[in-house]
């Protein structure tokens, strides 16, 4: 091989390597959950669970029982209350819910509204049994239209499944919503 050809091979290698390094997927892209997009109103199925939104509405204030004490929370934004029905498929499973806002921001379930008997973060979903749960998000109102609910098995979601479900309908805005047990 001539000296010129060898130099060309080395340069080509450097270019290829540089290209690979610059287009390498980042950590989040590599390990993010496998997303299943579900049509509004339909049931979404993940690896360990299946779920469907049954109702959603927004409220300025929320009332709920907290170990026998009546609490009321208000917000600089609004509360989005999403009721859903879910079941485990292969094993008893807990779920994590995230609201993917219209702007791309992600909202976790509000920790200001503790619902031990109905909150999605407290529930175990058993195989073969549908159970109702509620997810309450606190967010700016303009994040709701065009957003969607993301559900995944609680814990390590890397390379697991996630289900994304847009809202089919949004109920009328309420001043105060009471969430029972």
């Amino acid at each position: 091989m001539s000296r010129g050809a060898a130099l060309a091979a080395v340069l080509a290698g450097v270019v290829l390597l540089g290209g690979m390094m610059n287009t390498k997927p980042d950590y989040n892209s590599t390990f993010q959950p496998f997303v299943t997009n579900t049509n509004p109103g339909e049931e979404g199925m993940g690896r360990l669970f299946t779920a469907r939104i049954t109702e959603a509405h927004i409220a300025s204030q929320i009332e709920f029982d907290h170990w026998g004490e009546q609490l009321r929370r208000d917000s600089a934004g609004v509360f989005l209350i999403v009721r859903l029905s879910a079941s485990g498929t292969a094993r008893s499973t807990r779920l994590t819910a995230i609201w993917l806002g219209a702007s791309g921001r992600q909202y976790s379930v509000s920790s200001r509204v503790e619902l031990p008997s109905s909150g999605i973060e407290y529930k175990w979903f058993q195989p073969g049994l549908f159970q109702r749960a509620v997810a309450v998000f606190e967010l700016p109102e303009d994040e709701i239209k065009g957003g969607r609910l993301a559900l995944m098995a609680a814990g390590d979601a890397r390379l697991d499944s996630a289900v994304q479900i847009p809202l089919q309908t949004l109920g009328p805005k309420q001043d105060v919503t009471r969430i029972g047990p």
């Binding site: 485990g88 175990w124 058993q126 073969g128």
Partner: protein
């Protein structure tokens, strides 16, 4: 020929690296999975020095929720201290014919329900860590409550294993007695 030898050595070293690198991950998976089952009836069997048995199992069905059953499982474990220490902890689950897994309920309400449903009204708490601290001369009794579809109550198997026994586990086929609540 020399070139082939170098390729072979490279491949061997690559395999060795992958093997060493994945060794811990494989061990971690094995400690979580129940692959090798000792299948028995409710009378149970010995697993790595500890004898496990299902002392009682009852399925409770309420009339206003006829599709689901609360299953109360009373489990007994007995064995020398060294064997119990080697188990490390205890994991109990129910499985059906499709190998679906139900885990015990952890809510406070489950503790109260066990007290209501247990034949002697006593809740011995979940089987878990602490096997080694029990006295050597007695069976360690635990109570678990599961929520399952009524349709699977006739095909249930109680699985019991410890961190130290997995991937080995006990699989005890059971036939719960049915209790209807008004």
């Amino acid at each position: 020929m020399t070139r082939l030898a170098w390729i072979a050595i490279t491949l061997l070293l690559l395999l060795a690296t992958v093997g060493l690198d994945s060794h811990l991950d494989i061990r971690e998976v094995m400690r979580d999975r129940e692959w090798f089952l000792t299948r028995t009836g409710p009378e149970g069997a010995e697993l790595q020095g500890v004898r496990g048995e299902v002392k009682a199992i009852t399925a409770i069905i309420a009339q206003d929720a006829p599709d689901r059953a609360l299953v109360h499982v009373r489990l007994g474990l007995a064995g020398p201290k060294e064997a119990r220490e080697a188990w490390v902890d205890c994991r109990v689950s129910l499985r059906d014919g499709q190998n679906r897994v139900w885990l015990p309920l952890h809510a406070n309400a489950a503790d109260k329900m066990i007290e209501m449903l247990a034949p002697d009204g006593v809740n011995n708490r979940l089987c878990g860590p602490g096997l080694e601290v029990a006295q050597a001369d007695r069976t360690i009794v635990s109570d678990q409550l599961f929520l399952v579809p009524v349709a699977v109550t006739e095909e249930l198997t109680v699985h019991v294993s410890g961190f130290g026994t997995r991937p080995e586990a006990l699989a005890m086929k059971v036939a719960p007695s049915i209790r209807m609540l008004p």
